[in-house]
Symmetry: C2
Amino acid sequence: MIQSVTRALDILEFLKLNPGGLGVTEIAQKLDVAKSTAHRLLASLEEQDYVQKTGKDSIYSLGLKFIEMAEVVTENLKIVDIARPLIEKLSRDTGEIVHLVMLDGNEVLYIDKVENASTIRIYSQIGRRGPLYCTGVGKAILAYLPEDEVDQLLAGVTMQPFTEYTLTTPEELKQEFQTIRANAFAYDNEEHERGIRCVAAPIFDHTQKSRYAISITGPITRMSDDILREYIPWTKETALAISRKMGFNPPKS
Amino acid sequence: MIQSVTRALDILEFLKLNPGGLGVTEIAQKLDVAKSTAHRLLASLEEQDYVQKTGKDSIYSLGLKFIEMAEVVTENLKIVDIARPLIEKLSRDTGEIVHLVMLDGNEVLYIDKVENASTIRIYSQIGRRGPLYCTGVGKAILAYLPEDEVDQLLAGVTMQPFTEYTLTTPEELKQEFQTIRANAFAYDNEEHERGIRCVAAPIFDHTQKSRYAISITGPITRMSDDILREYIPWTKETALAISRKMGFNPPKS
DNA sequence: AATGATGTTCCGTATTAAGGAACGAGATAA
DNA sequence: TTATCTCGTTCCTTAATACGGAACATCATT
């Protein structure tokens, strides 16, 4: 165990027990280290917002970073449970596979899947990862993310053409994002895999951010334009219902 | 800035962006350090539950510790705002000073105060600290804490007698806790300061823990037994109302 | 069975973080 | 006001410590 890290984490523990905050000297005593050491540890923690210093008197207390981090942790625990019954219904109503995905690095991570018994088996699996730029779910998420974040996510990726329909430049993509935002759903027209189409809609959490999405996926033989038109509102409604349960408050329009 | 601490916190940042988790090798690459270094950092973080390792495949992801920490942070932001209007009313109804306190280390920290204009000035101030064992608020909080936690808190304190009424042994205190729990409020009969009496009630949060309390404080000349009997239900009701707004679900009895 | 990729452990070295002391800033008291 | 404390911050030297490389173990893939 590395000493300085352990000590830094110990400080956080002390601050948890003293929500009113502690001074450098007090912390140094509790840790049984020199004041300068405690000070250096605190400076490192403060730099990344794990602790904050009240201007006056240099009293250190737990920082807002923890709220950020906890959101990620709790939502990942909640989302699958919340979404389960709703995506099951969607799958039953359509007879197609429904996926629940999460933004993970610069990919989407498939965190749940419901597959109707009658469906022809399509290879897909929980834990699988997929690209953002050429999947319905990926585009649905990206379309609602702040532009600088989108740029950052796309920067780490080469937009390789999986099929002749794959969009391969950020410009084309951003163009499509406007359509997606206007309609509140995203298509994937064989952009990732030949013969596979899907309809996807983003899920928002209580911070109004799109970090999840659902999609209905099926072979083009079954997913005709007419059928899709029917599925779209169902998908959107299901996504919105999940969003609400995640604490999302739709902006009044 | 301490290198190892900064690196450890950087890892947490990467994991936030990859809620699906990352392996040691991936993390080492992102950090640009040797695998062994990343591994050591992760082990230190894991030891304190900041990251967790899924048994299979050693994929590291953010740990449950963040939920714990965030609770402390958010509640301390919330409680004052939530409690304000309610303790204002209590002060108006009684004409006495009302305090809102928070458990902080092995003391109580006064985080808000409402003082009716007509009240004789009693020295008291936000930011002040007070002992747990001889204040109404302190005892109200302690009475509902798990016994091992109480022991730990009292261990770091010498129970000095402020007045002739001060309880000075843990045994006496624990005896009184039973009464407090039976009645759901705590008295302070000149135990901390001669001539000052108060009625206090604990506040519970959504984890069912008592980390806050309120009290009505006044000079013994005004705080007669008859008057107190009237104030008790008001105090309890106010505390319960605050608890509910903090997300507390009273156990069905 | 062999190869490759992963996570984990060990160890010598040099980087790095620790502690002490000096400094600065504020508060308190004479 | 000035002097004295206490606290936070900075600097610098030293040696403790965390680093990286390599070896090992485990597992999946071919």
